[in-house]
Symmetry: C2
Subunit: 334 residues, 2 copies
């Protein structure tokens, strides 16, 4: 029996009903163990709707972070559902946390309640981009706007551990995001990180990559600072939406193509939703003493259930231990 | 009669033939005045093919920058076609420069030969993104990897002047690219630039924008450092390509949609090429003593002709003067 997942039932645009429905799916269809954290009265009623009150326990949290609340709210609300979920992991009552709440709130609360693993300079958000056959991991996707070269090296270690645990890759190829392959290009940060990465043990560094490489599978792990990573991720999201909108209008304008248009539009919509969800579904806050999966704020039941699966996979194969092996350098006492 | 455009005929993946064909189009169909800069023998032969030797003059440049040569090559090759083109503008023999050569080479050569306008801290690359009804200008798209807050403020001024001259906008809305609307998010650079922009005369600052806003028309001008801007631009390019590839495969997989598939694919390809070209066609190096338009390296004749039109428009309405009015603060001598 795997350790239960502490699911923040109050976070997300569709909380609590879609979160509860996702939990029911994860338990019944995936055989996972889930604990719901949030308002007992509300959650009990939601479980009644699924006839699942006996399958899924509830842990009380009377407060929650609003979606537009940022990092500071985590300090103001020590009894929020996300804080209690982290507390369950810290006490050993759960193996991982899943939340669709505000990213800033989850990151701040996770760092405050679970603390960074020993040896980890800065926890980072890893997002799985929908490349094929395996995803490309982008990190940091927004936890650290400003970083030092040594942190980029650690992000490479965190991402390597993730790719090994989640996708069974032996030597994930790590690329450094920058703006050109030429020596003189890029920032001081990137140039220094490049030097360090070339000699980092346990990281298969393949060199610089550029923005257009994010979705081609050119690397298995792409590291960058949280500012650039977040801008790139959101730009990608916007560009995909733009391409689909333009194409839909182009189809609607076209008389000759009208015949197939209805069916095409349906497929396009399906594909768009898949890309949209996949681009976000796999966000994981790496480097804490516990696994924290950040589901997209707009997640509905299937995305929540998938996020629970990811949390169970990572905590079952212990991503935390794997990261510790890579980043922890014991003090030499003699 | 407008001032001639000095067209670097040796720069670009399809130089010199597509460049020459673009020049012929610009002269015959757009009524522009163009001077070709490059190897006289090669260019003369190319003009013979178009029966255009009497319409388009050639200025000799025996050297050229290779597409993979970076900024340093501009120093090593003082007689390159791009250097000579800049020289023509400096001497007053041409009003603007158009090149499809290496961006790094054009930027370095332009700065060296034309110099920054008085008062301009750093010239920047502005790219017109294909939003509707009018493009959104993104700058800096890669000329300056590392910037100071004051430079971001100037980029806002450069972009405002561009939008006013090129699109006739009275008060272009300027957004600052960052990673969240919350106060505590973003880098020190962005936070300081935000403060400065709020009180900058002549700039209609509408606040922070995020990556997903680049293609929605949420702002007319979006400013960022050249590292983030270049990553965002290339990410956008890659994401659009990805979306189209995925959709094409999805259509090919679908039996039920096969009927319309052939026509759909054709339309999709057309749209993709339009987006791809538009995302790059409008790159302008702003802030020099002369107009420099950077065409995409893969430009064929129509894109070169369009780049010539942009150069003529900007130099005719004198973007240089407009920028000078905004950035030049005369020394007070008494």
């Amino acid at each position: 029996m795997s350790e239960p997942i502490a699911l923040d039932a109050m976070g997300g645009d569709h909380a609590p009903h879609e979160i509860v429905a996702g939990a029911v799916h994860a338990v019944r269809e995936r055989g996972l163990s889930v604990v719901l954290v949030g308002s007992p009265r509300v959650l009990y009623e939601a479980l009644v709707d699924h006839d699942a009150t006996k399958e899924i326990p509830i842990v009380r949290a009377e407060e929650s972070l609003a979606m537009d609340e940022g990092a500071l709210a985590s300090l103001r609300r020590p009894r929020s559902s996300i804080a209690i979920a982290c507390h369950l992991v810290r006490r050993g009552d759960a193996g991982s946390v899943v939340s669709a709440g505000s990213t800033a709130g989850i990151v701040a609360t996770g760092k405050l309640r679970l603390k960074a693993q020993q040896g980890v300079l800065r926890p980072a958000i890893a997002v799985a981009l929908p490349t094929r056959p395996t995803p490309t991991l982008l990190l940091d996707a927004g936890a650290n706007a400003e970083v030092k070269p040594e942190m980029l090296v650690q992000f490479a270690q965190l991402g390597t551990a993730y790719a090994q645990v989640a996708y069974g890759m032996e030597r994930p190829r790590v690329g450094l995001l920058t703006i050109g392959s030429e020596e003189e290009k890029g920032t001081k940060l990137v140039k220094r990180a490049h030097e360090l990465l070339r000699t980092t043990q346990g990281v298969h560094f393949i060199g610089n990559v550029e923005g257009q490489d994010l979705l081609t599978g050119a690397a298995d792990v792409i590291v960058t600072d949280g500012f650039t990573g977040n801008v790139a991720l959101k730009t990608m999201e916007g560009a995909v939406r733009y391409a689909f909108t333009e194409l839909r209008e182009s189809i609607e304008d076209s008389r000759v193509a009208k015949m197939g248009a209805f069916l095409q539009k349906k497929r396009m919509r399906e594909l768009y939703h898949r890309l949209d969800a996949e681009a976000h579904g796999g966000a994981v806050l790496l480097g804490l003493n516990g696994t924290v999966v950040i589901a997209h704020g707009s997640s509905k039941a299937p995305a929540i259930s998938a996020a629970c699966q990811l949390a169970a996979d990572l905590s079952g194969k212990s991503i935390v231990t794997r990261i510790a092996e890579r980043t922890h350098r014991p003090h030499r006492l003699w």
